[in-house]
């Protein structure tokens, strides 16, 4: 029994790591390859989660939908809607330095949170949306978990391969050129704001997909499901620690940070209640401190961005 519980927990963790890895790869496209500061990851995540939930859940009185559509439609819808939310923000802000994008994404995440909390007809406000179908949900618990893990890992693998391919392509090279020397890239005739917009929208779509996978895992989504700032910040520290600009680094960072984060939660839950509440905030403090330490002592992360092109060939 102890054994089975451990296995259950490991599978559960692995599913979460895959979902966070999608967010980290999405952020890597924005930050690692393009240098855009998105502080509203949780917002795009929530858009994806709710979109897929509304599209695939069974109809419910007093709320738009559910439309009872197949799950892949929900996932595609999640990506499209997250991208549609990102597009105008990027369009307005990407003409300026990334600081403006940082503020605007904080704003959009806050507004998404307000909409989710107060628009009863759309999101069911505090009750949230329940009855979201789960792929392989009819199997016995552990089989169902394993099957979902395989599904999520499959999605992650496909996304990883596609993104890697994109980064190696001329498009990826151009993005890195823009990030490293915007002036030179502009002088070469590259349309910097449009390229940045592509990266921002593309990354946001992946965050939406991550949200959809999360909603289907839990079969329900409520406003309390994610703490916006902590979730956003966790993804940031995962990417920075793992190595921004390197997708494998991003996934490694997700695994390391998520394991630390969950085990510290198990640890603090064993404290007496009055201490446990404080311990929760101390954990947030430590994760903030961790970012400062990484930025100071190993800004390139565990797995630094690989050198590409001529310089890399010379080394070999």
């Amino acid at each position: 029994m102890e054994w089975l519980g451990l296995l259950n927990y490991a599978v559960f963790m692995a599913i979460f790591i895959c979902i966070y890895a999608l967010l980290a790869i999405g952020l890597n496209i924005q930050w690692g390859f393009t240098g855009l500061f998105n502080a509203g990851i949780a917002g795009f995540f929530a858009v994806g989660a709710y979109t897929s939930a509304i599209l695939t859940s069974p109809p419910e009185a007093g709320r738009v939908g559910g439309f009872d559509m197949p799950v892949p439609v929900g996932w595609a819808g999640a990506m499209v809607l997250a991208a549609l939310v990102a597009w105008p923000i990027g369009k307005v802000c990407l003409r300026f330095r990334s600081d403006y994008l940082a503020i605007a994404t904080i704003g959009i995440a806050e507004i998404i949170r307000l909409v989710i909390k107060s628009e009863d007809w759309l999101t069911g406000s505090a009750r949230g949306i329940t009855g979201i179908p789960r792929p392989f949900g009819d199997l016995p618990y552990i089989h169902s978990q394993l099957a979902y893990l395989a599904l999520v890992a499959g999605v992650l693998l496909v996304v990883y391969l596609l993104v890697e391919r994109q980064i190696r392509s001329p498009w990826g090279r151009m993005m890195r050129a823009i990030r490293d020397n915007e002036l030179a890239a502009r002088a070469m005739g590259k349309d910097v704001p449009s390229r940045r917009l592509e990266a921002f929208v593309f990354g946001a779509a992946l965050m939406g997909l991550g949200g959809a996978l999360f909603a289907h895992l839990n079969r329900a989504i409520t406003p309390e499901a994610i703490d916006p700032m902590v979730a956003t910040f966790l993804v940031w520290i995962m990417l920075i620690l793992g190595g921004s600009g390197n997708n494998r680094g991003a996934i490694l960072g997700v695994a390391v940070v998520w394991v630390i984060w969950s085990f510290s939660e198990i640890l603090t839950d064993r404290f007496p209640p009055e201490v446990a509440v404080k311990a929760k905030y101390i954990r947030v403090f430590l994760i903030g401190l961790m970012l400062q330490v990484v930025l100071r002592f190993r800004p390139e992360g565990i797995l630094p961005e690989p050198q590409r092109g001529a310089a890399a060939k010379e080394k070999r």
Partner: protein, 290 residues
Amino acid sequence: MDFLEFVNFYIVPGLVLGSIYALGAVGITLVFAILRYAHLAHGDMATLGAFVAFAAVTLAGVPLYAALPIAMVATALVAVGIDRLFYDYLRERPRIVTVMASLGVALMVRSVVQVIWGVDAETYTRGIVRPENWWGIRLKDREIATVLTMIGLVLCLQLFLMKTKWGKAMRAMSDNPNLALLSGVDNAKVVFVTWMIVGGLCAAAGFFLGLNTELKSMMGWQMLLPMFAAAILGGVGRIEGAVIGGLVVGVVEEVSVMFLPSEYKAATAFAILLVMLIVRPTGLLRGKVL
């Protein structure tokens, strides 16, 4: 609804809230113009300042308004310390890395507040304050104090920037950092003075927000967006602009309640921010665009 009622219910609270935003926005605009990055921990530093004043009032029994200078000095020192510990060594790296560090600092400062003071709402004073009637306009003492203190602090700051050596050095760094450094302006001192001022203004913003509403650990973070909207509306680097911007954002937020559900008060600041970035990114008073 007659005019007086409109003034009492929307304009007066709007101007009070706007004064609080203005205090924060002036700090944001200084950091944006002189140090050249968006400082995302600004709101949470305001929260810290508010709670330092709270500790002074409840633990040390300091009179309410005497707690303000105490909190300002304490928060100024914390701001300088944060800069030394977390921002200073990032100076050679792209500025956006410092923005990220400031997001981390925001989380750290907030969790310190939550550990020390908990997450429940607190107030400086108990009991209901009755507003006094000034020719039909109802004003509370603390509302008058908020607006007057804001005006006083901003005037002092303007005087400092115009007349003193360090104020001129700060303006020089804001206008043209390379030229300023070449002319022998001591960057480290400018950074130090800037953070002292910004920290003090943060604490004042937090104190007056706590005085006029209540003290909560998230209060500063929720002020961040309006404060940035105010700074950009006024024009980055323009002190008067930040004040005007703060007052406009405050009044618009309060008046928006007439047309929008009150939950979306926070969205109006965001709308102002986006509209300004589309229509006139330099802001009303022709500030910088980074």
